[in-house]
C-alpha cells in the first residue's frame, strides 16, 4: 500500500459518472441579457450589460464574504458593511499619499499603487474581522437575535470610529489615470474601470470556487458546516478554521469596499451600511452559504437594475425586490441551497 495518488486521480474503474450540476440558475443571466436585447440598440445594450456585470461583480465581492459567514457559520452579521467602509477608508492611507502614482500616465504605476491599497485594505479588514469575531461574535454563537443586535451595534461603532479617524467629511477618491475614460467597441462605450471590475470579480469567483471545491481547506469548510464535531474527530481544529473564514470574508468585504469606493469616486462612512440592502438581497436569492448562487444573484440583480433603469426608470426602484420575490417563489431556499457550489 505504498503507492499514493492525488485524490483527483484516484478514480476506480467502475465509478459511475459524477452527478450532474444544476445549471438552470446559471442560464438565467444570459437569458435576462438576451430577453432585453430586442428593446435596446446593440451599442447601448453592450454598454448596459458591461456596466451591469461590473456592478454585479463588485456586489458579489462584498456579498461573498457575508454568504460564507452567514451560511457556513450560521452567523447573522449585520455589521458586514463596516468592513466595506473600513476597507475603502484604509485604502486611502495608500492612495492619497501616493496620489502622484495614481495620476501618472503609466498603467503599471497605477495598478501597482492600487494593488498595494487593496492589500492594505484587505489586511486591515482581515485583522478587524478576526478581532470582531473574537470580541463581538464569539459570545453570541448560536443566538441569532443577539447576533443581529451586537453586529448592528458593531457597525454603528465602526462608522463613528471612521469619522473619528478620517473625519466626517466625504473623501474624494479619483480613479487612477489609466482607468479613466472608456474604450469603444464600435459605437458601444465601455468604461475601463468597469472592465477591471469584471476581471477582478471573475478572479475572486474562480479563486473561491476552486478553493471550496478543489482544496482540502475548502472541503473542510464545507464539511465543518455540516458537522463540525465530526471534522474535529478527524483531527482538524474547526474553531481555527471558522475564525479564518470570518477573517477572509471580512477581507473580501474590504476589497469590495475599495472597488466600490473607486466606482463612486467618493467615500462616506455610511457607504457600507448603504450597500448592505443589496448585499443581503444577493445573499438571500443566491441561497445562504452558496458562492455560486451569490455570484449569479449579484449578476442578475445588477443587470436587471441597469436594464430597468434604462427601459423603465420608475420600475428600477422596485427591480431588486421583484427579482427577489420571483426567485424565492421559484426556489424558496434561493438559487442554490446551502453549501452547494
Amino acid at each position: 500500500m505504498s503507492a499514493t495518488l492525488p485524490v483527483s486521480q484516484t478514480t476506480p474503474d467502475t465509478a459511475l459518472p459524477a452527478a450532474r450540476r444544476d445549471i438552470l440558475p446559471l442560464l438565467l443571466v444570459p437569458a435576462l441579457a438576451l430577453a432585453v436585447l430586442p428593446f435596446i440598440s446593440l451599442p447601448t445594450w453592450v454598454t448596459l450589460t458591461v456596466a451591469g456585470l461590473a456592478m454585479g461583480m463588485m456586489i458579489f465581492i462584498m456579498a461573498s464574504g457575508l454568504t460564507l459567514v452567514f451560511g457556513l457559520m450560521s452567523v447573522l452579521n449585520f455589521g458586514h458593511g463596516a468592513f466595506v467602509s473600513v476597507g475603502a477608508f484604509s485604502a486611502t492611507m495608500v492612495l492619497l499619499p501616493m496620489r502622484g502614482w495614481l495620476e501618472a500616465d503609466s498603467l503599471p504605476a497605477n495598478l501597482g499603487v492600487l494593488g498595494l491599497a487593496v492589500l492594505v485594505a484587505m489586511l486591515v479588514t482581515a485583522v478587524l474581522g478576526w478581532a470582531f469575531e473574537r470580541v463581538v461574535i464569539m459570545p453570541v454563537y448560536g443566538q441569532h437575535l443577539k447576533q443581529i443586535l451586537v453586529t448592528m451595534g458593531g457597525m454603528i461603532v465602526s462608522e463613528q470610529l471612521i469619522n473619528v479617524i478620517w473625519g466626517a467629511d466625504q473623501i474624494a477618491l479619483p480613479l487612477p489615470a489609466s482607468l479613466r475614460g472608456a474604450i469603444f467597441l464600435g459605437d458601444a462605450a465601455i468604461e475601463k474601470y468597469r472592465l477591471l471590475a469584471v476581471v477582478v470579480g471573475l478572479a475572486v469567483f474562480a479563486a473561491m470556487f476552486l478553493t471550496l471545491n478543489r482544496t482540502r481547506i475548502g472541503l473542510l469548510i464545507r464539511a465543518g458546516v455540516e458537522n463540525g464535531e465530526m471534522v474535529e474527530a478527524l483531527g482538524y481544529r474547526v474553531r481555527r478554521l471558522f475564525v479564518g473564514v470570518f477573517a477572509a470574508g471580512s477581507a473580501l468585504a474590504g476589497l469590495g469596499g475599495v472597488m466600490w469606493g473607486l466606482y463612486k469616486e467618493t467615500l462616506v462612512a455610511s457607504m457600507g451600511s448603504e450597500i448592505m440592502v443589496m448585499v443581503f438581497i444577493v445573499v438571500i436569492i443566491g441561497g445562504l452559504g452558496s458562492i455560486e448562487g451569490c455570484f449569479i444573484g449579484a449578476l442578475l440583480m445588477a443587470l436587471l437594475h441597469n436594464y430597468a433603469g434604462f427601459l423603465a426608470p420608475k420600475l428600477n426602484l422596485v427591480s431588486n425586490i421583484v427579482l427577489m420575490i420571483a426567485i424565492l417563489m421559484w426556489r424558496p431556499a434561493g438559487l442554490y441551497s446551502k453549501g452547494k457550489l
Binding site: 499514493t4 458537522n227 478527524l234 483531527g235
Partner: protein, 241 residues
C-alpha cells in the same frame, strides 16, 4: 494477554445535570477486537464519546498508548491515532465519497492501494465514488463512515453500533471488513447490541449497565456460557436471537 492500548480508570462523565458514566473501568488489549455490550442507555456511546474527547470526563483517567488523553482536545486525540465511527455515521452529505475519504487522509493524498483494499470489501464505494454521500443508502453511508476511519492506518478504531438498521448482506460485508482489519493489527473497540454479530468477531468483551462495566473478560467465555449471557444481556439477547 497483550499489553493494553487503552485503559479507562474510574471514568465519570456528566452531561448537563445527568451523571451518565459512573466509574467506568475498561482495558482494551492491543491488536484485538474488544466488544462493548449493554442495553440502551447503559453508557456505551457515552464511553466512546468520552474517549474521543467529545464529552469530557469529570473524574477518572484515560490512558492511550501510554499517554494521558483525559484532558486532550478531540483533534489531538484523533491525531494520537484514534479513529471514530459514530452511531449516526456522520458522513458529509454534500461531499462525494472520494472527498469524504480524502478529508480523513490527513497525511496527504489518498493511498490508491489502500483505497482498492477498502473497496474490496465495500464495492459500492467504487460505484458511487463521485456521488454526494448524502445520496447513498444507510448501508452505503455506513461503508463510507468505516472507510473514512480506516483510509489511513490508525492505532485504535472506535465503532458505535455499525449494524444498526442494516440489511443482512451489508452486515456480512461489515463482518468481513472487521475480520480483515483485525489481521492488520488495528485495535478495535466495537459498541454493539447485536450479540450474534460480535460473538465470533470479538476477542474480549465488556458489558455495561448503569454507566459501569459490570463484566469484562474473554468473548469466548461469554459466547459459551448461556447462563452468563442471560444474566448479563437478558433483554438484549431476547431482541436479537
Amino acid at each position: 494477554m497483550p499489553e493494553p492500548i487503552l485503559t479507562l480508570s474510574g471514568v465519570h462523565t456528566h452531561i448537563g445535570q445527568y451523571h451518565i458514566l459512573q466509574g467506568v473501568d475498561l482495558v482494551v488489549p492491543r491488536g484485538g477486537l474488544t466488544v462493548l455490550l449493554g442495553r440502551n442507555g447503559a453508557g456505551k456511546t457515552t464511553t466512546l464519546r468520552t474517549i474521543m474527547g467529545l464529552w469530557k470526563a469529570s473524574h477518572g483517567s484515560i490512558l492511550f498508548d501510554g499517554r494521558d488523553i483525559t484532558r486532550m482536545s478531540t483533534p489531538d486525540i484523533a491525531r494520537a491515532g484514534i479513529a471514530y465511527v459514530p452511531e449516526s455515521m456522520a458522513v458529509f452529505s454534500e461531499l462525494t465519497v472520494r472527498e469524504n475519504l480524502y478529508l480523513a487522509a490527513r497525511s496527504g493524498p489518498l493511498d490508491g492501494a489502500r483505497v482498492d483494499w477498502i473497496c474490496g470489501f465495500f464495492p459500492a464505494l467504487k460505484k458511487f465514488w463521485h456521488y454526494p454521500a448524502g445520496n447513498l443508502s444507510g448501508g452505503q453511508k455506513q461503508m463510507v463512515a468505516i472507510a473514512r476511519a480506516i483510509v489511513e492506518p490508525r492505532k485504535l478504531l472506535l465503532v458505535d453500533e455499525p449494524t444498526k438498521g442494516l440489511a443482512p448482506a451489508i452486515v456480512q460485508s461489515l463482518m468481513m471488513a472487521f475480520r480483515e482489519l483485525k489481521d492488520t493489527s488495528t485495535t478495535i473497540l466495537l459498541v454493539e447490541q447485536n450479540f450474534n454479530f460480535v460473538k465470533s468477531l470479538g476477542d474480549s468483551v465488556g458489558v455495561m449497565d448503569d454507566g459501569r462495566i459490570n463484566h469484562s473478560g474473554a468473548m469466548r467465555d461469554l459466547a459459551h456460557d448461556e447462563a452468563l449471557q442471560q444474566r448479563l444481556l437478558g433483554l438484549s439477547l431476547d431482541s436479537h436471537q
